[in-house]
Symmetry: none
Subunit: 216 residues, 4 copies
């Protein structure tokens, strides 16, 4: 859960040697189009044109348009949850973060970083989940089961320590998530407008989360 630089997912695509040059262009074009106009409203023809590639080329690499979407969202989810999947909870808890606040702040900053770097892809994921049952299942499986589970353990630990409220751990996790997603949403909506101070809002959000979960 450190602050070290991760490369963005899109950059990962670009450095993947198993991908053709054209394939990379297709992915980049698809990401931009899907995030702007949505999956259903983006035509493969439009993607091909934006990628500077023949329409057939898309289908040489991805059997269907849907598969192209999944080739974006699947690694997206994998990377999204990676830090949680690999983290050794015991080590994390005992050595890295004495206080919950510290852990939450670190996590928030880290994932916020990830989200900022992969804004378009996160946008696609969130936008398309309502319309694709398989995407939703995949999401629930990954985020809901794996990550959620890990967080629940974490929350329980801090609850046992008496640091935070004795609410259902799953609820606690959901509340945190909502606050963070809300922050990102506001950032997408407001970013650039004069009244929006992204850093300060982040701090406010963290403060809100912390106090919302305080014991008593």
């Amino acid at each position: 859960m450190s602050h070290n630089q991760e490369t963005s997912l899109e950059q990962l695509f670009m450095n993947d040697d198993s991908l053709t040059e054209k394939q990379k262009k297709i992915l980049a074009a698809a990401i931009e189009s899907f995030s702007e106009k949505g999956y259903a409203a983006t035509s493969t023809n439009a993607i091909a044109k934006k990628a500077g590639v023949a329409e057939g080329t898309i289908f040489r690499h991805y059997k269907t348009k849907k598969e192209l979407l999944l080739s974006i969202t699947a690694p997206m989810m994998a990377k999204m949850i990676a830090p949680f999947v690999i983290m050794d909870i015991n080590k994390v808890l005992e050595h890295d973060y004495d206080h919950l606040e510290d852990f939450l702040r670190a996590m928030v900053k880290n994932r916020m970083e990830f989200i900022k770097k992969n804004a378009a892809m996160v946008k696609i994921l969130l936008q398309e989940i309502p319309f694709h049952p398989d995407l939703r299942e995949q999401f629930i499986e990954n985020i809901g089961k794996k990550v959620f589970g890990r967080f629940v353990e974490l929350v329980k630990y801090y609850q046992d320590k008496g640091d935070i409220i004795d609410m259902e751990p799953s609820s606690v996790v959901r509340l945190i998530a909502a606050s963070l997603i809300g922050y990102v949403g506001a950032h997408q909506l407001m970013s650039g407008s004069p009244g929006w101070n992204s850093e300060k809002e982040l701090e406010n959000s963290i403060h809100y989360i912390m106090h919302g979960l305080k014991k008593g």
Copy 2:
């Protein structure tokens, strides 16, 4: 901000005498389809079939498919913000709710009621906002400017009374909103699954909001 029964928007459509019987069926079918598969992935032909109506009939009443969407979302937004637009802030504050907690709880319940009754339409609104600049503008204009402004006033009042934290009022409002929207989203995602207790989750959310905003 009372708990009195409001009729759902869809019922309002159904009781609107200026609408043909067929028109009502079209609206109902469109609401169902749009909320399930999204605007772009719903064909006018599918709507017509679901409504038991000729496809041409749709276009007699709504010049375009987009206009049909807006005829759903526009009154949706109006009703959504209605309680805030008409509420007399001074009266509200001085007589109805001595404590912020009471007001928030009442408001949450009231709007939660509205959202539950109009789940499909709210879903449409939230789902389509990313894809329709005009919808987004309309939303910002209504929710962002009108409602937000009113809430900011309210928050300032309670801040002056010393009840809640001295954070930017706009941030406070955003944080509350995120938590509530997060609750609804979870409800949509989880409703029906065994682990989900909607009532309790609502209480948890309110508790979280209250403490998140506590002074000090």
Copy 3:
């Protein structure tokens, strides 16, 4: 074949007591639309709107769109050939016009007058003839047989008198017609532009016709 004022066909419609007020508006709207955009490209809906009438009203008076077209073109043709049908050739020839030139000039002026007054309707007739076999037949029957026949008689008379060339009478008639229609076409195309002097062009056309038909 005198120069007396005839009312235009459209005015005739307007004064016809057997026509409803609405019906007159429909005819006027149809004439304008058909002449501007053509029969096939004009919708009954557009006609109804331009006439300020419900779409159903059109079909109360005219069973089909085609019938509406014919209700314009049929009287058009009747009026177009009326002077020729009623004229008493012998009288005309022996008393009215000693010289062919005089007759032609009078006829040209008279029909030109008619065409000017009914520009839109003539335009419709000429435009639609290529697309409607029945219109074409009707046209051939009326203009081709009746009028043509009369003109052929006339031409023969002047040929017997030795005034004009001994070409096939039918060819003579066709040549005159082409020159006159050419004049009207040019008028439609050029009218209003600075270089176009309608009166002078008409005189040129007549001169051209006369000399084109001169003996020897």
Copy 4:
């Protein structure tokens, strides 16, 4: 302005290597349909069927139905005026045709040849001009400005020589054009009927033109 064989425009399309086999079939089908029923009354579906091609194929090659029309009429106009654009007036006048009659006869025959070979396409052009402002402008620009200008020069030359009447050169050109177009129109209308002798009518037309323009 020689009588050498030109290939018809449609044959040119058929020998154009830049066109797909299907594209040629589409063009042939469109030419036939447009000339018979008119542009507005011809459906792309009908063209596709007649061409033995999927409807989508049409739109792969021509973005819109209108573009398909223009892809027929534009080269049509180019070829129509080509002989006039490339002719060296001085050479023509001094060496080829001592008398105006000879030039006119040659030109008439040459263009008549072209028109006969491209009857369908000429028909389309003339039929659609009233309904398409852009076509009309294009026509005026090409025929009206370029060709007309050249003819005016020619006419002036012969007027200076004293061969023909001292009428406005532009009127002279118009009168000739009307007579020729009239001939073609009659040919379209009458061709096949027993009384129509195309060759003789052409000679009559030329004679009529010549005498119509005689001095004095």
